[in-house]
Symmetry: C2
Subunit: 194 residues, 2 copies
Amino acid sequence: MTTTREKLLDVAADLFYTQGFQSVGIDQIYGQVGITKTAFYKHFESKDDLIIAVLNRRDQRELEEWGNYIRIRGRDDSRRQLSAFFELLEEWFSKPDFRGCFFLNALTEFPNENDPINRAACAHGEHLASMMLRFAAAAGADDPAALTQQLMLLITGAISSRHRTGDLGAAKTATRVAHVLIETHCGRAALTAR
Amino acid sequence: MTTTREKLLDVAADLFYTQGFQSVGIDQIYGQVGITKTAFYKHFESKDDLIIAVLNRRDQRELEEWGNYIRIRGRDDSRRQLSAFFELLEEWFSKPDFRGCFFLNALTEFPNENDPINRAACAHGEHLASMMLRFAAAAGADDPAALTQQLMLLITGAISSRHRTGDLGAAKTATRVAHVLIETHCGRAALTAR
DNA sequence: GCTGGTGGTGTACCGCAAGTCAACCTGCGG
DNA sequence: CCGCAGGTTGACTTGCGGTACACCACCAGC
């Protein structure tokens, strides 16, 4: 049994992702769930409140999913774990309903840094980066923080490129570059990041 | 003497960039210029029309600026020209009013591919890529299209990273990776992209 | 000297979305 | 039997995008 609140979050997440946050009216959301406006406002204080809840829930779930995927695909090899991030991108990009990164999108729709929505969206990137940092450290990178920065840049770039051009090959492009970086930073005679 | 239309475009470009397209009302725009709503609608058919005009003008100007910068900084050395793209990023990122890429932002605020705003925003990326492609070809890259794809991915990633984390070092990170790629693709014994 | 285009003004109005308010209904556990 | 969570209806306010209509001032050309 899914509660009404859960249903609202599901519908909202879907609409927000496909159409953007600002262009979706709450009437579409509560209408699709089958309740009235007043009922909606018993679950969420405001549209912003709903957006933040959607963002936080998706942050948690996505982090879990990514973590599981990487542990499974990466086996016990830390370097494979790092490159698993990019295999995941490939799968993601091939989905027809791909519309970029939910959190990156939120960030550009709410550019004010003091906006709680902006903060919630930023948090996801930080969570993902700190997860990657652990893998990079485990892989014996000479400078795990630098490697994480570079790989995160590649991931962000791949997502934005795929989003902009619709090019499915963006993941492969990023993967190739990532392998070079991983080899360089985790090689036996690892070079400095300069 | 700047025409009213030009003033409207200037004010709109500024507000849209700093606050986003949807969250800026046209009343702010015509108010700041000092005309009334009716007068505004004698210059532009709609808000969408204004947005497209702003986008197109900025596309032209930015392309010109980038082209000039690269020709000056790159001198006659094609490889230097390619890496000048990244030097430009560094300068751009250090500006306090940096808010990401205007066109990438437009794209996420108007995700519908049939939306003329979306098309106008996409166009900029294509223009930039085709400019880069010419430089890549001139630099004697083994596969100019592939190199362009990779460098564009890096640029996009750097912009988004800087936007998300506020990290000024994103440009340097991208530059380092770019140099590796340029060397690999333009080396005397150039390897294939695979 | 009248005509027309350009670039304005003011006011009133429509439709839609966010959000509020008040009054009322219903099922369920303590 | 009470209270509360979750729901309903309907009327209302505010703000924004956009329209309609009537009017004004200036400058250029035949």
